[in-house]
Amino acid sequence: MNVTVLTVDDSRAMRDMLRHSLVAAGFRVIQAEDGLHGLEVLASESPDVIVTDINMPRMDGFGFIQAVRSDAARRATPVLVLTTEVDVEKKNRAREAGATGWIVKPFDPEKLVDAIRRVAA
């Protein structure tokens, strides 16, 4: 079983880090640079889990999650929010938008993989 994870993050370093950690854990990784790009990727890919950042240019994580949840074909895809926020408000907004769960940065690869495993069918 090869689980595909879409990561959406505007930071190259973070994308590289995500890819590095996830590939090492045996996931197939596809990446997008912001919410809009994420939606573009979703037009042709069906990831099992999406991991997204909140603060991004063009379309932020909230907008991206809302868009995923309002797409009939994608609405059942678990979305994990990546955030350095310890701020409750951000997390709640992400939840309101439809986030399945969250990962607090800086994450360690084990926690990241564990969170994905928990929501991946």
Binding site: D10, S11, R12, A13, M14, D16, M17, H20, G35, L36, N55, M56, P57, R58, M59, D60, F62, G63, Q66, R69, R75, A76, T77, P78, V79, T84, V86, D87, V88, E89, K91, N92, R93, R95, E96, A97, G98, A99, T100, G101, W102, V104, K105, P106, F107, K111, R118, V119, A120, A121
Partner: protein
């Protein structure tokens, strides 16, 4: 084997550079009141993103300071704090410190804790400035540690879990089956489905949630472990966890101790803030020492209530709109682009070779072959231009570094300075950009330190107290022109002249035009330690600036008006990958001379050549004498002096304004050539700057004119001084 983490680190630092630039330009926009909300967002994101990346690599100081900075920026973003000039001033200083912290992290050098602390105080001050209600509340790590997780005493326990998902749980793509699977990992699980809440089929909402799960879990786990399983869904379900033990208490039981201590067994609805604090403590071990600012006390109260929907929707709409105006870009390895440039260079050569063959074969110009070939030629040129354009970048990245420099130099000199930049979007090859930063830095320092008068003096002369330094970039006839101008006092010509005489650069009675006097400052040996201040000093004079510009195939010039200011103007090629050259031949060897150094071509007469000192000949030129460089002799292509009368002479100007006449056999015209490195497969060769490939497929060498001029027999500097004196004395007659 490259360490992937090391590679990510490299990426992180590259990204930091970009984000620091973004941060600075955003803050400057805020400073001049032209910032919109997206600018503030971008500024926030830049700091936030650096913090996130720094967290990966446990760069504690950086994370800590970025957090303080970000918190303040977030207040501006949410309108709690307004970006008044004093606030933005602190932000700018914070951006400078952040840049230094990034550098410290990269170089693994010491962090200036005192500066961090000082800025921390300033951040607190601006919070008060704006009458913000709460000061940054520092919570010691020990205080925000989690309480006893509840029964995590080890050993096997039995837990009763009652779990009723809400519809929202499914809407967020969570799955009961997955949660049960997770529970199963904690120990032995018995699941009982309570379907008493299930309505009649006709009343059922297909997306509704009606089921309750009763789970008995036996395992070596505590309540925390179970709560962790439900971490993501706790808001979207009803969850009860209780320890199935004989002495257990039902939820709601209250125990009151002798001393008035009261303990109530809650129905296990976890309070969000507690959970959050615990997380902050557990998950960010890297910054436990960091000042963890408590979330706004208002936030937990508002947590349950959905944020005003309209606001979110508006924000998304705005973002999407912004997105359409941003052109799509891709990042490409420079190596790939360079490889492509090489290949296109090859294509150009091949195309030229083909044309030559077609010509040799005697095919008529009007034939289909020749016409197709012409089309190919046009196409090839177009491809070459397009490929070169890929490497082109706006000079913005260099310009963005200057405001900080200006602030620093202004502070050091006690002058008031306004920096005006124009033409930031002007594009030039990436390699050129990398190499103009230092000369520009020096010129701007110089403009503030030497160009602008002191504030008092300016006021006394009726000028505005604030001096203006202007940095502009523009394209002019296939080159980029950069100008640094100031509205200061202009070059003090009598003093410059006096200094040049003292240094033996000109004879005391030399007749020089204003322009010639101004240009004396570029002579090697003009700037000396004595007149170098801390700021423009650093042991570097304008001669070094000129040298580095000329090394790029550029020229520097100055114009100055007393009392009005000076303008330094740099003209540079748009790329270092191609060069405009003069094709010449020497003893049957084809050579390229960079067009930029050639002042004029001459046909020397034998009677104008005079032996000067040993091997050195000079050419009498308009009353002056210029040393002659016999290229064939210099490169060892010939053993005898060439006959000047049989040669073509090129008057060239090298480093530091040193002039010489190069003797070659013949000139074959001008050509744009693709520069190829000799060092890549061989090594540097004295007198040769690089190589190129000609239309016939052969390699031709590009002359290093500076080395040639210096090579001229004995000491080039002395020659220069002598010839200048000759020139001066000749001028007298």
């Amino acid at each position: 084997m490259e360490d992937p983490l090391a590679a990510i680190k490299v990426t992180f630092f590259q990204e930091c550079e970009e984000q620091l630039a973004e941060l600075e330009s955003g803050l400057l926009a805020m400073e001049s009141n032209v910032a919109d909300s997206e600018t503030v967002n971008a500024v926030f994101r830049a700091v936030h993103s650096m913090k996130g990346g720094a967290g990966i690599f446990a760069m504690d100081a950086l994370v800590r300071f970025a957090h303080i900075f970000e918190t303040s920026l977030d207040k501006v973003r949410s309108g709690v704090l307004s970006a008044t000039p004093p606030v933005v001033a602190v932000f700018l200083r914070a951006a400078d410190l952040l840049a230094d912290l990034v550098r410290a992290a990269r170089e693994d050098s010491a962090v200036d804790e005192a500066r961090i602390a000082a800025l921390g105080v300033e951040f607190e001050r601006i919070d008060h400035l704006d009458g913000a209600p709460e000061a940054a509340h520092v919570v010691p790590a020990s205080e925000c540690s989690a309480g006893d997780g509840g029964g995590q005493s080890g050993g096997v326990s039995t837990w009763n879990i009652v779990f009723t998902p809400d519809q929202a749980l499914y809407a967020k793509a969570n799955e009961t089956a997955l949660l049960l699977r997770e529970l199963h990992r904690l120990g032995e699980v018995e699941v009982e489905l309570d379907e008493s809440g299930l309505p009649e089929l006709q009343d059922m909402d297909p997306e509704g949630a009606y089921l309750t799960w009763r789970v008995t879990l036996r395992g070596e786990c505590g309540e925390e472990d179970i709560r962790d399983v439900f971490e993501f869904v706790q808001e979207d379900c009803h969850l009860e966890i209780s320890k199935a033990e004989p002495y257990g208490f039902d939820p709601g039981t209250v125990i009151t101790g002798d001393n008035g201590f009261k303990f109530e067994f809650f129905a296990p609805i976890v309070e969000e803030p507690e959970e959050e604090d615990r997380k902050a403590e557990v998950k960010s071990e890297a910054n436990v020492q960091a000042a963890v600012e408590r979330p706004d006390p208002a936030a937990p109260a508002a947590a349950g209530a959905p944020p005003p929907q309209s606001k979110t929707v508006q924000a998304i709409a705005a973002k999407t709109e912004a997105a359409s105006s941003v052109g799509a870009t891709i990042r490409v390895d420079l190596d790939r682009v360079d490889r492509m440039i090489d290949l296109v260079g090859e294509l150009v050569i091949n195309e030229a070779m083909l044309s030559q063959r077609v010509l040799e074969a005697g095919i008529a110009r009007s034939s289909g072959v020749a016409m197709a070939l012409e089309e190919l030629e046009n196409l090839t040129r177009e491809i070459q231009d397009s490929v070169m354009a890929i490497r082109a970048q706006p000079v913005r990245s260099v310009f963005q570094r200057m405001p900080r420099l200006v602030r620093e130099v202004a502070a050091m000199t006690g002058k008031q300075v306004r920096l005006v930049t124009e033409g930031e979007a002007t594009e030039v090859d990436k390699t050129v950009i990398e190499r103009i930063a230092d000369p520009l830095t020096h010129m701007i320092r110089n403009a503030i330190d030497h160009g602008l008068e002191s504030t008092d003096r300016r006021i006394a002369e009726g000028k505005p107290a604030e001096g203006t330094v202007r940095l502009t970039a523009l394209h002019r006839s296939g080159r980029i022109v950069l100008e640094v101008s100031d509205d200061g006092g202009g070059i003090n010509r009598p003093r410059v002249r006096q200094k040049a005489i003292e240094r033996g650069l000109i004879s005391p009675d030399a007749q020089l035009t204003d322009e010639e006097v101004d240009n004396l400052i570029f002579l090697p040996g003009f700037s000396t330690a004595e007149q170098l201040s801390d700021i423009s000093g650093r042991g570097v004079g304008m001669d070094v600036v000129r040298q580095s510009i000329q090394a790029l195939g550029g020229r520097i010039s100055i114009s100055s008006r007393p009392g009005k200011g000076s303008t330094f103007s740099l003209s540079l090629p748009l790329t270092l990958a191609v060069l405009d050259g003069m094709v010449v031949s020497v003893q049957g060897h084809t050579l390229i001379i960079p067009l930029g150094v050639i002042v004029e071509t001459l046909k020397p007469r034998r009677e104008d050549v005079f032996p000067l000192d040993g091997d050195l000949n000079v050419l009498k030129l308009r009353g002056g004498y210029v040393p002659i460089v016999d290229v064939a002799l210099c490169l060892g292509y010939g053993a005898q002096h060439s006959d000047p009368a049989q040669s073509v002479a090129l008057l060239v100007e090298g480093e530091g304004g040193a002039r010489a006449v190069l003797l070659v056999d013949a000139i074959h015209g001008q050509k744009q050539v693709v520069i190829k490195s000799l060092e890549a497969n061989y090594r540097a060769v004295r007198g040769i700057a690089a190589a190129t490939v000609m239309g016939d497929g052969r390699v031709a060498l590009i002359l290093d004119v500076d080395a040639m001029v210096q090579n001229t027999a004995t000491d080039a500097r002395r020659d220069l001084a002598e010839s200048r004196q000759l020139e001066a004395s000749a001028g007298e007659r």
